[in-house]
């Protein structure tokens, strides 16, 4: 949850910040493809968000006396990294929408709680309405969270890790296509520098 919080709002506002500073045009005009500029930003945010995972485990251990025993420590570590990666890819898709739409930063805030709710962070998918579950399966983070839980509590985390990576790759492809389309549209409509 902390990783998603760290990425959701900041990813959606990162390019708006560039726009406000007058540097968005320079980023778009540079020969480096936009995804290669944006992904490292969202990846770094997700990495910072991993701090909250560590802090929560330590906080739970020393403030509340909660002992977390990990059944598969290696799979747990891999699942955490893969989940953070999947969150950064979601952040990438959010971030590129701001190239064309100035108000897209609000998407990050709006999606923070829905993603918490439908990805199974605290609420099991089984108690959500049936029609929500297919939506959950379409989000890579759902599989990442499932892998983290299975690695910690028991189950088969590697299958979920693999699915998480595949779905994240699909989102990365969608984000890349979207980035190209939105940059073209922003150039056509001359909206890049509009604050």
């Amino acid at each position: 949850m902390g990783v998603w919080s760290a990425v959701a709002t900041t990813a959606a506002t990162s390019l708006q910040g560039e726009r406000r500073q007058g540097t968005l045009e320079l980023l778009v005009a540079s020969p480096t493809p936009l995804p290669l500029i944006v992904v490292p930003i969202t990846l770094s945010m997700a990495a910072i968000g991993l701090y909250s995972l560590v802090a929560t485990l330590l906080w739970g251990r020393f403030a509340f006396g909660i002992k977390v025993s990990l059944l598969h420590p290696l799979a747990f570590a891999v699942a955490c990294v893969v989940t953070a990666l999947s969150v950064s890819v979601l952040g990438f898709v959010l971030a590129v929408t701001a190239v064309r739409y100035r108000s897209a930063w609000a998407l990050g805030t709006a999606l923070e709680l829905p993603i918490w709710l439908i990805c199974g962070f605290l609420v099991p998918l089984s108690i959500l309405p049936h029609w929500v579950r297919p939506l959950s399966w379409l989000i890579p983070t759902t599989w990442g969270v499932s892998a983290v839980k299975r690695a910690a509590l028991g189950g088969m985390p590697w299958r979920d890790i693999a699915i998480c990576l595949v779905v994240a790759a699909v989102y990365a492809a969608i984000g890349t296509l979207l980035a190209g389309r939105l940059v073209d549209s922003a150039r056509t409509n001359a909206t890049l520098s509009l604050i």
Binding site: Y101, S103, A106, L107, T109, A110, L113, P114, W116, L117, L122, V123, P124, I127, L128
Partner: protein, 262 residues
């Protein structure tokens, strides 16, 4: 007197309208309509999953607490935004009296917070299937309005802080989180550590949420009148603190020439 009234009403309205980056439907709908509904749903489902509380408990707590988004952020931004746009100096060199100037900016924010809470309560109840008798609605509306007023008092404090620090959004986010934890929104005060419950009594929304829950359970105004009065009192206390902070930091910012630092 007439000038002060103009500063209060027209100045406040113009300042609120100047928050145009918020007032776009593309911002307003996700922030004020989608956000509160999903906060209610999230905590209601956490409660269902953990087998604690009931939907009505989470619905009322979160609907009242979500007023904090406009009350804290809009209030902080109304000063921080002026500072960012370099118009704060122009306002502060004017001879306008400060009390109507700043309270006028608070009035539209109170209305905004109230409407957001009312919307969240109504739609949240429909989505979760919580039935609130029509007879309790007038009292609930009063409590929502008083709670929005009290929270805007705290917002005025953040507006005062906005004269001293640059990142008002960070301050507002931290306060929003504190209110979520301390005010009995998703956990009864009785289950919190003693010191947290003591702190909660001095925060806005705590008494408003308690009163709203009692009303939903069938209490009359006589039963909750004192609680609502305490909520209003807490709001007045923060309003005064906010005005004092604004005065102190205005003088300080002139002395240290920091008013225009964006």
């Amino acid at each position: 007197m007439r000038t002060s009234a103009r500063v209060f009403f027209l100045g406040g309205l113009m300042s609120y309208r100047a928050l145009f980056t918020w007032l776009s439907p593309w911002i307003l709908i996700p922030t004020f309509m989608v956000g509160p509904i999903f906060q209610i749903l999230f905590f209601a489902y956490v409660g269902r999953s953990a087998g604690v509380g009931n939907d009505s408990f989470f619905l009322i707590g979160n609907a009242v607490q979500y007023a904090a988004i406009p009350c804290l952020f809009a209030m902080g931004n109304s000063i921080g935004g002026e500072r960012y746009e370099h118009t704060l100096g122009l306002i502060l060199v004017s001879p306008a009296r400060r009390v109507p100037l700043f309270l006028g900016r608070a009035l539209p924010v109170i209305v905004n917070g109230f409407v957001v809470s009312l919307f969240a309560l109504t739609v949240g109840a429909l989505v979760l299937g919580v039935s609130l008798p029509l007879s309790v609605l007038p009292l609930l509306v009063i409590v929502l309005a008083v709670s929005a007023f009290a929270c805007t008092g705290l917002g005025l404090v953040t507006a005062g802080i906005a004269l001293r620090v640059r990142e008002t959004a960070v301050v507002s986010n931290v306060i929003f989180g504190l209110l979520l934890i301390f005010c009995g929104v998703n956990a009864p005060l009785s289950s919190l550590p003693r010191w947290m419950a003591v702190v909660a009594n001095w925060l806005p929304l705590t008494h408003g949420i308690a009163a709203a829950r009692k009303i939903a359970a069938g209490a009359t105004f006589t039963d909750v009148g004192r609680t609502v009065a305490v909520e209003a009192g807490v709001g007045i206390m923060y309003l005064i603190i906010g005005l004092v902070l604004l005065r102190i930091f205005e003088v300080e910012s002139r002395r240290h020439a920091t008013l225009e630092l964006g």
